[in-house]
């Protein structure tokens, strides 16, 4: 497998849900021919949007695996053991099996796959569907450096892709996975504040969305620390510092830290649960 050129790769998807579609779109945006992609799902419902962008579809998981260099396992966590046992005989050591199932550990994946298999655990997040995802992956025991380089290259159209030890996956789940919902909560509250102060709801919501988007872009692209950017918005005695003081009084920072903590703890709990369940 040549680590550099992803356009030659054959990519298979087991499962055709939102995450699979988001990742597929990201891969396609990076010049990989649609014909190189194949997706399998039990029913036709989710396959249509794949067909519309030129991706090959099938009802056979084995067909999605055979001939693929990289296979994305994008089914619900409880279905992972079922599909992996189904395709067990078709998996080779030259393939990279990438699971996006939350809470399914590398240890579990490696137990469910043939012994020499290259397993990778990937935690994307929802904005993958608009190619602005935050993706963290962790390599299994048989994976090599070139697998990391290849995957990073393949997924760069999906958003920000980083590698880390498996321990960080739960943290990433709690902050970037669930974090998307935290941001939606904040956006909703911003809009409600506007409505309270006299703005019609539809306008309030679209402005709130743009505010979050714009702030996010500025944060990512400026390279500045968020505290620096915050200070730059605060004119002395102005509106922003008054609002910020109210937020501080409300303990928003501490609540956010706690939220990431709760979500991460839960991710860890679920990971342990599924590992235990599998063993029993």
């Amino acid at each position: 497998m040549d680590s550099g050129d992803v356009t030659q790769l054959k990519i298979g998807f087991i499962g055709a849900g939102n995450m699979a579609f988001g990742i597929a779109k990201g891969i396609l945006s990076w010049k990989v021919p649609a014909g190189n992609l194949k997706v399998s799902a039990p029913s036709d419902t989710n396959l249509q949007r794949f067909q519309e962008v030129g991706v090959a579809v099938t009802h056979s998981n084995v067909e999605a695996v055979c001939g693929s260099d990289v296979v994305f396992v994008a089914v619900k966590p409880h279905l992972v053991p079922v599909v992996l046992s189904e395709v067990f005989g078709s998996v080779t050591k030259d393939q990279m099996i990438v699971s996006v199932a939350a809470g399914v550990t590398l240890a579990t994946l490696e137990e469910l796959l043939p012994e020499a298999s290259v397993a990778v655990r990937l935690m994307p997040n929802l904005p993958c569907v608009v190619q602005e995802g935050a993706l963290l992956f962790s390599l299994g025991s048989k994976a090599k450096r070139e697998h990391s380089v290849l995957l990073r290259s393949l997924l760069q159209g999906c958003g920000l892709v980083e590698e880390g030890p498996e321990a960080w996956i739960d943290v990433h789940t709690g902050s970037s996975g669930s974090g998307v919902a935290f941001v939606y909560l904040f956006a909703e509250a911003l809009a409600e504040g506007s409505v309270k102060m006299g703005m019609p709801s539809a306008l309030a919501h679209s402005l709130a969305a743009q505010t979050v988007l714009g702030a996010g872009r500025l944060l990512r692209d400026s390279g500045k620390h968020p505290a620096q950017l915050r200070s730059e918005v605060c004119t002395p005695g102005g509106t922003t510092i008054y609002g910020l003081h109210t937020l501080e009084r409300g303990g928003v920072r501490a609540a956010t830290i706690s939220a990431v903590e709760s979500a991460t703890d839960r991710a860890r709990e679920l990971g342990l649960k599924s590992a235990t369940a599998k063993r029993n």
């Binding site: 620390h225 968020p226 505290a227 620096q228 915050r230 200070s231 003081h245 501080e248 009084r249 303990g251 920072r253 501490a254 830290i257 706690s258 903590e261």
Partner: protein, 311 residues
Amino acid sequence: MSVGFIGAGQLAHALVKGFTAAGVIATHRITASSPDTDLPTVSGLRKMGVNLTTSNKEAVNKSDVLFLAVKPHIIPFVLDEIGPDIEDRHLIVSCAAGVTISSIEKKLLQYRTAPKVMRCMTNTPVVVREGATVYATGTHAEVEDGKLLEQLMASVGYCTEVEEDLIDAVTGLSGSGPAYAFTALDALADGGVKMGLPRRLAVRLGAQALLGAAKMLLDSEQHPGQLKDNVCSPGGATIHALHVMESGGFRSLLINAVEASCIRTRELQSLADQERISPAAIKKTTLDKVLQQPGVTSSDNIYIIPALSQK
């Protein structure tokens, strides 16, 4: 150049200590006046070689730069007393929180056509030459007067000119600031003691930690938020502690404190701006001592309500 202080309390003591350590003025050229000679700061000043007197008028006569280092509500009394003795050479620098330049000029205009007045807000760490001082320039003070004051105050720390309407905010931040720091340090030391450190060591380490952090920030281009991040290793001790602090509303507490001090300063200002000042605002014993001074008589209107005296 000679420097005088009306008032020989904490502020005068701190400034003199700083000036002498900086070598910016010789102590025999400094005069400080106070009717009350029992103050511990009075003997401290005397030990430093400052000329002590119980006569405000004497302090005025012996100085070119005159610091008004008394409590805000005393300022009107003092101005009425020394008004007749102010000469053209005098630069009056008021350090009283909340007392406006215009209120001082208004009083002094009864005695001189162009009184040179400046207002400054400093803080106690001038005593170790790490003060934070701002000043505003009055109507008749020249640029050179500002430079002179800045030279004096820069010898004991940071000094810069500001618009007068910012001084109340400065009071809330760096005026009261050392008190916030002392409170924090006391509590930090308690934390250290709770976790097993001997008290003296805990105090020493806490103070050094804050001193070091402040120095790092002043020397750095970076935002304090970035510097904070640099200390917090992932999953480590510091980030756990910071979360606890955030949960306690640490940041908003500090914002509230600065706000409260600033608002109170403004309240004091409106009190001081009143035309009617009750003689009961000053201790009878102190008033008596003032009246015993050479040159001070009851006709100086010290304890007649100033507004009425003009009718």
